[in-house]
Symmetry: C2
Subunit: 256 residues, 2 copies
């Protein structure tokens, strides 16, 4: 398995064709996985915004006031409003915002980025990243490059462990997971573990090259990796019924 | 960046020298990262056990009884006892056991495996996986192979997202994280995100080759990846003071 960054991608602007820009710079082959950082997908899709675009609701003002009162940290209520508009649920509303985006991904601030964007205040995540991945895949096919899987990646932190890591937020041309159900280990025991989130592992691998800031290398080509002869599944984001930690968060409130 | 599985490792037994077995099968070079699945590290360290080794305490019996009463699932109280003995805290005790191991890793059942082990009931995680990694690294150095970083990996699930992914539980010869603090994106904004957990990303990448069951390929060589010119940090496991989700779990109890 090999990973190579796509070199010399230009700064991306609204309307740019990422598939074409990648195809000009990388000799893609059938079976390759192309990872694309959400930063450049968002820029191509014009998902920039300004704080002035978010008139503050009562709820956003409350959130900002409470974070300031309890955590002693200044929070722009317009930013809280942007997070509310990009999300369906706040899992934590103080001392920071942990939100479920409209497409199911859970991330601090609904994944809204305050760096990485010139001339605007905010960079929002793509609206429907799996559709973005599918569009890039179709764009490559249009150039005659067939059989490429595309993963739109983000980086975020996680419970229990320090640090950020790359994750998939959208994918096309491959299932999200390998399902090992019913398969056996080499001693013949049935495997207790059933689902391996390969899109997340591919995103994590690519992030070793992309790094933070998505500076020079927001797109990575992964070659000679094989999904193998396993069942696939497209579930990636857990629903609350299926996630005890989300349930616990519903009953919890931060104390100072 | 390239990843290659170490082919043809034999079934590992207590006392086996993993460094020597890998060195015979892979031409390692300075700068390589070697990932080793915890299953084979545990086997080499004799970390197998049997349910009969765990006389049941009152707490273990209570846990098993409650899981049966509330979740309707049979739980062997001896297994609950094994989890208690391998952990310092249960974050969730019903309907499943989410435990912090003695070395700080949080995993269902304290990472105790009921598959992957012939002739015994249980395979425990290595006692101190970073020391295991350091021993493998020292073993390689003894063979004249210097400058290898070693990561001991596990797979486990996580909140918010379906599926398992590879994670690091021990490491030697490199820092756990890259620290981007103070660095800037290409638009000159200071990066909000500061710490990238590269050992977890390397473990996730390797798990694309290892897969579940750790069947044929429990060791992977990663070449041509560079930590780069960043500060490093060795924090990987969050303390409870630093983790709101652990705090929320302390106040939560599963309801049927």
């Amino acid at each position: 398995m090999k990973l190579n960054g796509v070199a010399d991608l230009p700064e991306i602007s609204p309307g740019d064709d990422i598939a074409a820009l990648v195809a000009e710079r990388a000799a893609l082959e059938p079976g390759d996985v192309l990872t694309v950082a959400s930063t450049i997908v968002s820029k191509a899709e014009g998902r920039t915004a300004d704080l002035a675009d978010y008139p503050v609701s009562g709820r956003a003002q409350e959130i900002a006031d409470r974070i300031e009162a309890v955590a002693g940290e200044e929070k722009d209520p317009r930013f809280a409003q942007a997070v509310l508009e990009e999300s369906t649920e706040l899992l934590i509303d103080c001392p920071f915002l942990l939100a479920e985006t409209r497409f199911g991904h859970i991330a601090p601030n609904a994944g809204i980025d305050r760096s990485n964007v010139p001339d605007h205040d905010l960079l929002l995540l793509p609206k429907r990243p799996s559709e973005s991945a599918e569009r890039i895949r179709a764009g490559l096919a249009q150039q005659g490059i067939e059989g490429i899987a595309v993963i739109v990646t983000d980086t975020c932190g996680r419970p229990f462990r320090h640090g950020q890591r790359g994750v998939a937020i959208g994918w096309a041309g491959m299932p999200a997971s390998r399902d090992w159900r019913g398969e056996r280990d080499r001693d013949g025991h049935e495997l207790g573990v059933t689902v391996q989130s390969v899109v997340d592992e591919l995103a994590a691998a690519a992030n070793l090259i992309t790094g933070e800031g998505a500076g020079g290398t927001p797109a990575v080509v992964i070659r000679d990796w094989d999904f193998g002869d396993h069942a696939g599944s497209d579930e990636l984001f857990r629903a609350v019924e299926d996630d005890f930690i989300r349930q616990a968060l519903r009953e919890w409130r931060f104390d100072d």
